[in-house]
Subunit: 138 residues, 2 copies
């Protein structure tokens, strides 16, 4: 129940990336018109990078890219036990035609007809934790 | 299935706030040390404001507050139908002792022993959408 005491256990980077790789979607966090923005989205993991298909504005198209966070969680709506993983890194548009074709095949957008690019997020920082009760793992 | 065509239907502000009020947790999006940050958290809705109990840094304690986003979704991990609601507004720490006491009673933190304040998010912007398949509502 919600009133049960809960502990927050930090996850290793390895375990965080494993959970991220198992999840089918997450949320990209970025800045849009100087305001914090968040968008649920599906992803794939390629090596140590997260690949998404969306449109975040012009800045991801240049060589510098933009800093974003990408977050995935699985939290029980009743007991609130579960886990959350967030990675922070530079988002850059993928330009190589072979990579674009491969990612487009693997990563189907949720909604057709919307403008999107293939974006690679290279994590610089990975944090994750598990919320558990003292009764056992969540 | 993931390959089924999906439509994105915009929700009214009223419907977005209703869904937010029914949800037991969401994610607060803010800036921490100049980086995008996101944290899953539980909330209550009081009037047209969202109340959370967390610590976002010193800036929420002053009169100006900080701009944050608060996001709630319910998306099926397999079919990816569902909905997402995001509100954007100023987060300010609640100082009135009676309000603090009332909110502390209503809003139990997930993890004990962590520093937190009562924070009121006054929405300036509410956006929501429903992802549905052509077969029917999600």
């Amino acid at each position: 129940m919600d009133s049960a005491p809960r502990r927050l256990v930090e996850l290793t980077t390895h375990e965080s990336l494993r959970l991220l790789g198992c999840a089918s979607f997450g949320r990209i966090v970025f800045t849009a018109q100087a305001l914090p923005a968040i968008r649920p989205i599906n992803h794939i993991v390629d090596g140590d990078a997260v690949i998404v298909r969306t449109h975040l504005g012009a800045a991801t198209g240049d060589a510098v890219g933009v800093v974003v966070a990408y977050q995935v969680d699985e939290i029980d709506p009743v007991t609130h036990v579960g886990w959350s993983v967030t990675l922070t890194g530079i988002a850059r548009q993928v330009h190589d035609p072979r990579d674009v074709a491969r990612y487009q095949e693997l990563l189907r957008p949720w909604v057709n007809g919307q403008r999107d690019e293939i974006i690679r997020i290279q994590p610089e920082l990975v944090t994750g934790y598990r919320l558990t009760t003292d009764q056992g793992p969540g």
